[in-house]
Symmetry: C3
Subunit: 364 residues, 3 copies
């Protein structure tokens, strides 16, 4: 972020930075909805965020971000604003940092890649955990070891909550990564460093919540634990011929197969899901016109453990980013095709489909 | 707006301005609701807006405004905040400017008159288009020609969206105006310039969206196009005896008379509407007490093409603005009477009624 | 508040202060909901507020505060943001000040004690009036007399609103207090002054709205008036052995016993309620570690005039505040037990229960 910084406090030791970020997407899609198979043209505000963040002191930081996600998508205008993030940071030392509040859950690398600095247009659905999809509420302890070659994170957060639960136990997430070249020492990753770093990082994470659902909800019997794990790798290297990016991840979510028994109706299908993505990028070495040009492609696969396999699909996408001024002003064009293993006979949203999105990103 | 400006960036070429605007209205009305004919006293926040706007560079501007409209009206307290506006501007040259995002649709002059700089208490309902009432999402190209005597605007926006549509086609709006005296060269107009300009502007606009509704929704048959047009005129001239304002507009909205056939239930009645307003103002030449005094009156007529004509009405309003400090601190008193051509026998909201509103406006 | 201040305007006579405040609470409770008696662990954002306030001139001030209350509580994530406060102040002289807009209703002392400067973890439910619970919309005239020994407030606000009302009459609230030692001259009080003042204040208030409900809603008969009164006392005194705080209040709400007849279904049970609280604090004289330590306890009693007395309860709570840096960074631990006079046989939320909350507060 590059918004204005206001210094204040005794000896000017505090500061506040105000940021604004907007992603306007113009989408053409081959279907309208689960009940309407006409093609669709839609312009919406994919991300639209005001950020108030800074340090209160060297030790204590704060971050408050409000947004209205996907405002105006599908005619859903004037969507309500909420706090996407609201947390405090306590940086005791590089080996021991604390985050308290509502912030990104620390499971998958791709969820932790900055929303405004992805490689492709956006991340895959796989990166969102079934409970506390992108953000969750709680506390995380994390730090860098061995000159930031090694990073660990342990989070205790809300996870699944609600009346349907056998017991409201905390969700525990652990994640480690190892960077052999330049370190990735922040809590957030990036989808591309635009050739400014040489990175090879491999990571793994585990996610757990005890008794997150009844397999037999009617009888309030047979509580099941939620368990998930992921491994991921990310490589980006600048050569004379351009900067090459290659990344991939595997995901395994499970909740004792409750989804195929008689769980509460709110239990989401992605509690029983196996999937992966690979993505690649190529940034041309010099300027192309006033800015820089980066081509990208991605492939995702998702296999739900549902009878009939209605949701199982492969997604292929390709496109380019044109950086007028780094991530601060960027134009992205992506074409995406979804191929369903068992296409629905009646629901256009679960049939093979395609979409093309032109995205304009601005970061103050 | 007059809120604080923070300069930043390389060579201080960027700035952020923070604004706040509040309109507190105290209303007395002759009925409570469609089912309660008791009179009503209500104080509410008609507009309540925080604005973060500025220029990133000479070329690129941004505007983000959050608000909770009519908060506390009728006991609907703590209404959700949303982004009223969120857009980027690209000012290539005065003849060619681009707006991208969510912003005022460019159909009627009165909708484009600044919410905080009207002549009368507020604009008429007629100024809101059936789809994308005041704001819409998309892109507009506009510019000033011939020393800003002439202005054009072309917008491609979302218009009507949703499952009910035969086809989600974009909405296209075109508007021109011609100013014979001082130019009105901004994207937004004002309802009064308080004697600081000599203005005579006439404008016209056309609004179109293909296949915006089925006339026979049950059978998914007979798609109809939305078409609307308007003409408007605005004159304001400062004389020795005071500043006189006179404005008027005619509106014609149509959607193939679908509303009188068998359309989807969400189709609004104002898709088939003819109407007009005239409004006039007189600003006294000098100060009256610490501020300035302006009298105003308006007359609106609306004829819906509905069987029975239940919504057809005339509205007369008169009152005054007292400007303690221009638009930054203003007190407005308006009395309004609505006369229904075919008053409802049972619904007090569709019978002749009157309301008196005392409004206090503050702009930081 | 201690956020950054931006001066602007002619002669720098205006300023804007930006504030941020966050309370993260981690709660363990002996029940989950009215239908689930399992214990609960929940982390949520009790208060989460961005504030934009300041003076436009010596005379005119403004205050806009957005928040999402109890975000993430019970799994209710990404709660909508709304304007908690939005008002203008006109400070003609210390004896006559005006507040216009949406702000704290002026009935009970405890509701008027700053949300971020309580003595105990939070205020009691008793402090919230049945209509316009903590904030209401309207206008208040208030001022300090006799060297601020005496303060008066008169407010005319919305009170109860809606279709159910016999007549939408304004709510009128009057409050006075008398301070024998140091004055409490602001519109808001504090739950503790942390030993910086010597205070003994007694106050009383009366709240009234005509015809706020029908006792026989079906027949639209027998309109009843809302009447409430309260008295309160607050004492805090720094001695060599530490600072001692003692406070108490009595509340009496009534609406003609409509709740026990046949009122509209929206009428809340606390329209017929008698209750009280006492609370006490002890702040150790010096530092304990890097900060200061304050012990507190409170006792509330509530008697609803309902048949069966299902809601009647006593609440005992005790805990401590640890002030790392005054109210700007504070850790609070409170254990609370609720004892029901007539515990429900089936509803865990209306049976004896207990909760322990660890709260972290940050104020920018």
């Amino acid at each position: 972020q590059a918004g204005p910084v206001i210094n204040f406090g005794e000896n000017n030791e505090s500061f506040l930075q105000i940021g604004y970020a907007l992603q306007v997407w113009a989408e053409n899609r081959s279907y309208t909805s689960a009940t309407n198979d006409a093609s669709l043209n839609d312009t919406y505000l994919r991300r639209n965020r005001l950020t108030f963040s800074g340090q209160y002191s060297d030790l204590i930081g704060y971050y408050a971000q409000i947004e209205a996600a996907s405002d105006s998508r599908g005619g859903d205008d004037d969507r309500e604003v909420y706090f996407r993030d609201a947390y405090l940071t306590f940086d005791f030392r590089d080996e021991a940092r604390l985050i308290v509040g509502r912030f990104k859950n620390t499971f998958s690398r791709e969820n932790l890649e900055a929303c405004l600095e992805p490689l492709t247009l956006d991340r895959s659905d796989l990166s969102y955990t079934p409970f506390g999809g992108t953000r969750d509420t709680g506390v995380a302890l994390w730090g860098n070891l061995a000159d930031a070659k090694f990073q660990y994170r342990i989070a205790v957060m809300d996870g699944r909550e609600g009346d349907e639960l056998p017991q409201d136990a905390p969700r525990v997430t652990a994640r480690v990564h190892w960077s052999t070249l330049d370190p990735e020492s922040d809590y957030g990753y990036r989808g591309t460093y635009l050739g400014t770093r040489k990175v090879f990082t491999i990571g793994a994470a585990y996610d757990y919540q005890a008794k997150a659902a009844y397999a037999d909800y009617e009888a309030l019997q047979d509580p099941k634990d939620y368990k998930a794990w992921t491994v991921d790798a990310f490589a980006e290297y600048p050569f004379g011929s351009g900067t090459y990016t290659l990344a991939g991840a595997y995901f395994n979510y499970s909740l004792g197969d409750a989804i195929n028994q008689a769980p509460d109706p709110a239990l989401p299908a992605n509690t029983e899901l196996e999937g992966f993505y690979v993505k690649a990028g190529y940034l041309l070495p010099g300027k192309v016109g006033p800015g820089r040009l980066q081509f990208f492609a991605r492939h995702n696969g998702a296999e739900y453990q549902l009878a009939g396999g209605a949701l199982d699909r492969r997604v292929n996408a390709a496109g380019f980013n044109y950086y007028f001024n780094g991530q601060q002003l960027k134009l992205t064009l992506e074409h995406q095709r979804a191929d369903y293993a068992n296409p629905s006979a009646t629901n256009p949203a679960l049939q093979d489909n395609h979409q093309t999105i032109l995205g304009l990103q601005f970061i103050l």
